[in-house]
């Protein structure tokens, strides 16, 4: 193949880079090996400490900490990498879990102690369907909201369940995706309809007000989250993968090409507000909102990519991505606590937690179908 202008430019750029790095002296291999050994020792030490704390329980430190974040600079002593500081908040003491079939109690809804993994309380069993978007605990940690199918009425009920074991009641007869402001004063949920609507509920007075529907014509809402500490709701929308009138897939129901995801934002306190595009450098395609992020005005966005796996990014209202982590292979994110720092993740055999500062999963309990702080 004849070399064209692009190939020539590429070759020249390559030669320039080869020349530029000819004189680079790598840090000695021994220095790297010592760092690797220190990191390994640190993890082992942390593992021993944790094991001592939870002896007799089922909690296991999957990949103990002790990360060595120092960086070796060629010809200079080690320095510390600089990263934006992260708010550190202890994880909530309890987590609500829907157990999978592999536990022998499929659909059982239980409250677990995060430190020990022990079952504190069983809230019920066999509730039917649990859309993951509908499984939320209020910021005060006292009430669980979830969705269940009312088969005779063919409605998705949004059910309110006191976590201390009180009686469940229907909060919304046909609603889904509850989201709470961090002060717990407001809830926004999706109401049934075509297109679906959004309703803002004042949890003190019980007053409802309709909100406009986000997205362009023909798009669906993927999910929503409130920005940290604000009454600004963020939504992701996209076009359905396939739209068909009959049973699909088939000749009458061809899959359409994937369409981009879009981010939108609205001030739910402003009665005249409309959804505005969420300007950010982050790519929304294939992403879901996990919940509020750790910094004021931020949200957490999760994206799964092959082969790199699942990444979680903190996206701020000014469009930057100050923090991002990659989950270990096989883990998927489930939920984040009200501080935006403790993220529940699950694999095929474990429920665990991670933070933006340390993406190594810390096991809480066995497998979970869904879980929320």
């Amino acid at each position: 193949m004849a070399m064209d202008q692009l190939d020539r430019a590429a070759e020249q750029a390559r030669q320039d880079l080869l020349r530029a790095t000819d004189t680079v002296t790598p840090p000695s291999a021994e220095t790297v090996i010592r760092r690797a050994q220190r990191r390994r020792q640190g993890r082992m030490a942390a593992g021993v400490a944790v094991a001592a704390l939870v002896v007799g329980s089922t909690v296991v430190w999957l990949r103990p900490g002790g990360d060595d974040r120092s960086k070796v600079v060629a010809g200079q002593p080690a320095t510390t990498t600089t990263e934006a500081p992260l708010v550190a908040a202890p994880p909530p003491g309890q987590v609500v879990v829907i157990e999978p079939a592999s536990t022998g109690r499929p659909g059982a809804m239980v409250v677990l102690d995060v430190a020990t993994g022990a079952v504190v309380r069983t809230l019920g069993a066999d509730y039917g369907i649990y859309p993951s978007n509908g499984f939320q605990v209020t910021p005060d940690g006292r009430t669980l909201y979830w969705n269940r199918l009312n088969e005779p009425a063919q409605k998705i009920e949004l059910v309110r369940q006191p976590i201390d074991g009180g009686t469940a009641s229907v909060a919304v007869p046909n609603g889904a995706q509850p989201r709470f402001t961090s002060d717990g004063a407001l809830m926004v949920f999706q109401s049934a309809g075509n297109p679906v609507g959004f309703v803002r509920r004042d949890l003190t007075s019980g007053a409802d007000r309709d909100l406009p529907t986000p997205g362009e014509a023909g798009e669906v809402v993927v999910n929503t989250a409130f920005e940290q500490g604000r009454r600004t709701l963020v939504a992701i929308t996209t076009r359905p993968v396939a739209t068909c009138s009959g049973p699909g897939p088939g000749p009458n129901c061809p899959p359409s090409s994937p369409s981009p995801f879009h981010g939108w934002t609205i001030d739910v306190d402003d009665p005249g507000a409309t959804w505005k595009p969420f300007a950010t450098t982050a790519t929304w395609d294939g992403g879901i909102l996990l919940g509020p992020g750790p910094d004021p005005g931020s949200i957490l966005l999760s994206r799964s990519e092959q082969p790199s796996g699942t990444r979680i990014a903190e996206v701020t209202a000014d469009g930057t991505v100050p923090h991002e982590i990659q989950l270990p292979s096989g883990y998927r994110p489930l939920n984040v606590d009200r501080t935006g720092t403790n993220i529940l993740v699950a694999s095929d055999n474990a429920l665990a937690r991670v933070t933006l500062a340390d993406p190594r999963p810390v096991r809480i309990a066995g497998p979970a179908r869904l879980a929320t702080w």
Binding site: A13, L17, V32, R39, T82, E83
Partner: protein, 185 residues
């Protein structure tokens, strides 16, 4: 795992600069010596920052050391290293703003960094503007002069996918170069 000095005569190329010893198991020190600069260049091409490139390269070797028992037996440990580095770079790309702020906070002069010709640096900058997978394929293809089968091995995808990524990436770069020529003319 110990790094040991080995006789260079015992080394043989395992394809595209990948180093192996006679018994089929690579040695960490040899792989490190052979691969540090190529990885640094690849990291620079993908990130555009020497400090980030150093950080990514060292992190890739730290991870190599942690998994040395397994990776040393691979036919191409260098391919594993590059995949790790690319994954790290993908994640780091979103954090460049953070690093820039951090470096500004430090407010200290960095040591001398390799000098890249600004004209040629623009080429790598254009590569970084491509979608991530295209940029990775183009960097491996042009910078490391790898055949598409090896690029596919590193990126963990089919060779046909790599060819498509390269086609799209090269097309965009050509259009960009044509645009640059027009604007400069």
């Amino acid at each position: 795992v110990e790094a040991v000095e080995i006789d260079p005569a015992r080394l043989r190329a395992g394809g595209a600069g990948i180093v192996q010893v006679e018994d089929g198991r690579a040695e960490f020190g040899a792989v490190y010596a052979a691969e540090y600069r190529p990885l640094l260049r690849l990291a620079f091409a993908l990130t555009g920052q020497w400090s980030t490139a150093e950080d990514l390269t060292q992190e890739a070797f730290l991870r190599l050391h942690q998994r040395w028992v397994t990776v040393a037996a691979y036919e191409r440990p260098g391919a594993w290293l590059r995949r790790v580095l690319i994954n790290l770079a993908t994640s780091r790309a979103r954090r460049l703003a953070v690093e820039a702020r951090g470096l500004a906070r430090l407010g200290r002069q960095r040591r001398d960094e390799p000098a890249v010709d600004p004209d040629h640096a623009r080429f790598w900058a254009a590569v970084r503007q491509l979608p991530k997978r295209q940029a990775q394929a183009v960097a491996l293809f042009y910078l490391e002069d790898r055949p598409t089968a090896e690029v596919a091995d590193i990126l963990g995808c089919a060779e046909g996918t790599v060819r498509a990524l390269l086609h799209q990436g090269r097309q965009t770069l050509r259009q960009q170069m044509a645009g640059d020529d027009t604007s400069e003319g």
